[in-house]
Symmetry: none
Subunit: 222 residues, 4 copies
DNA sequence: GATGAATGAGCATTCATTCAT
DNA sequence: GATGAATGAATGCTCATTCAT
């Protein structure tokens, strides 16, 4: 993909690391306000002025903590990623469950989490072009991949690294993309769970099949 | 999902049906110019003025054929959908191949098609908020679902309608979402094919598993 | 009143006098379409394109009979004036009735006529700036004044020309301005008649008073 | 009166209440510039850009104090109304004069006030369609009616409420409409005064006549 | 005569960001 | 540090009028 020309890739990290309680609180206020603006007005009405007003501060103050509009959105997304990432990590690495069980759990947790505050997530998604090319975004994707890669080492111990990489990619991308889509469509919770379950089944079938292929499976797999 | 307020859903269909050669050519010119603007400048610099200038016509003329900016983008997307839709339809309904074979073919074809003109597709995607809620977009999604539903009747003849619906949903959404993601990431063709193949395997494993469940499969499945 | 500078006073008379039946019909069609556009969309959406489309002809043809947009509006207004003018003339000059009776009749007729197709009249009024300064408009006003002046000769035979002129002005302007206002407010017919009646009374009282003043009124004045 | 469709009734009140001297000054500058633009170019060339430029500020600043173009015009008109309203109120309620005397004074004052800055008034009038339907406009009309209704209680104490309402309507509408017309025609001051005087006479004759009707007036009225 | 495509200046409004106070 | 007024480029869209066919 040739990236379009005139696309500036602005600084997204915070202008200053807020160490003092006051600053931390201010950043939190801004982010909370941003969430409200996004959910209330949609991505295309998300403006710094509105965020500042909602946060009860001045635009000037807002710009003291975020270098530009994109940075706010990115921070929101990053926090989101951090949370979800932690959740997925915990589930994927939980050796008390068999791999397929973990997958089921992960998909269900992810779908449910995506469907919370759906309108916010849709808005964040609409704003994605603003931060898509940021290095932090890439880092997030990489971290996700790592998590699934690690999981595949548990789930497909006999597979080659490349096989595992492909499986990790497929599972991760399917889950995240479909989760996003499901949240966007605003389906009812019961249906979301049904889809999550089906997707878990699909992943399980896929892993089983891979295991069969790799280790001829004298009697049966799993 | 509570929809954000101020989102208007404007008319997207063409202002006049161009019957004469001249008009048809003009519309084609506009669309071609739109593609170039989109690919060259990205969705966020896609303006009617730029499109008109690129097409070598006046804004006024542009507005004679498209009621608004969204309509141009939507038309681009619709043409895209029409093409891909036809392709998928042909493959999914091709009874000369077994269902799993068709799935493999479909995924590969879809991924490849998505990776052509990737930057255009990304830009179109970024513009999706502008036409997402249009009835035409819903119609497209519905048509896609129908195609896969029909396919599932071939592939899972013994399953209940609901099972088939869920399977169709999962497969369709996974494929389209991952295809989009893959195209966005700009992976090399070889890798794309590898992913397509893996995804085909995953779908195949899933359908096989469903068939086993449904018809206890005295001897073997498929 | 110093007239604003940049106000062009364009030609308002028809580009060609249509003598042939065909042309006459065309002009009639255009005018009828104009009325419909005006009433349907309001003055600020009155465009030549819309009129042409509503008339089922091309813009080009429209411009063959009217030099510009203003001319159409002016023509509408002029026709209107012609009609109402005839009506008023007939009533004001009707010697079979006493002057005050005529005034009552005139006011009632005028108010009723103003209230027909009120939305058209309002729209025409909104468009007045476009033709206000045209000589034809002045001519119309002058004709109206003449009519009332003539009437005053009947009603106030003993008054001086200047007194009559003032009385004519006052009566004419009150009637036309209030009529316009009443139509704009969309009052119910019964109320309109009541107002007309009251205004007729007012005019009658005024004329009586003037007569008393002028001819010392044998017994008592006032 | 069927109102035309697509007429939006936008917010007209100021975007922020200017408390600080600076802001107040800015608003004043904008209004003054607006007056100049209106008088200089006419209503149809009244644009926010021109106002801002004339005021020596940026469009953005203008929009910080007025939500839209209409609001500026409306504010001008409202200020106007406020002034004239106060004047009329004072005269109409002045019990040191007999009712007919007050009417004469009111008409003269109103006509004179209308003829000041006539070209501005005409322009404001031309712009009326932009704010005609606003609730504030209705409120103004209502206040005016109240003033005259109150006056009629003094002038026609024995009349029924309905009679008074009709008389108030007739007098108010005649005066305001004719005043507007007179100002628009740009007549010389002497003539304006003559008309005012005649109109005052007419109103006086009307009220006298009503009084006679109501209380058979044993000897003579007033 | 008729057509209707083409023009392009013009307009209202928004918004990210700065900087004097 | 905080404020918020000021900026002005940018955008989507309209419409009167012309003129080649």
């Amino acid at each position: 993909m040739t990236p379009p020309k005139n696309r500036r890739t602005p600084r997204l990290s915070s202008r200053k690391e807020p160490r003092q309680a006051r600053s931390t609180q201010l950043v939190a206020d801004i982010l909370e306000a941003a969430v409200r603006v996004l959910a209330r007005e949609g991505a295309h009405r998300f403006t710094t002025a509105r965020v500042a007003e909602t946060a009860g501060i001045s635009v000037g103050s807002l710009y003291q903590y975020f270098p530009n509009k994109e940075a706010i959105l990115f921070r929101l997304q990053a926090d989101e990623w951090r949370q979800t990432g932690g959740l997925l990590q915990a589930l994927l690495a939980d050796r008390s469950m068999p791999p397929t069980g973990r997958l089921h759990a992960v998909v269900q947790a992810f779908f449910r989490s995506e469907c919370e505050e759906a309108s916010l997530r849709v808005a964040l998604d609409d704003a994605a072009p603003l931060y898509r090319d940021a290095p932090e975004t890439q880092a997030h994707r990489k971290a996700g991949r790592q998590r699934f890669l690690q999981f595949m080492r548990d789930a497909l111990p006999a597979a080659t690294p490349r096989e595992r990489a492909v499986a990790a990619d497929i599972v991760m991308m399917s889950m995240s993309a479909v989760g996003k889509q499901v949240s966007e469509e605003g389906r009812p919770p019961a249906e979301v769970d049904r889809l999550a379950s089906a997707m878990g089944d699909m992943f399980a079938a896929y892993l089983d099949r891979m295991r069969e292929r790799v280790q001829p499976a004298p009697k049966r797999a799993i």
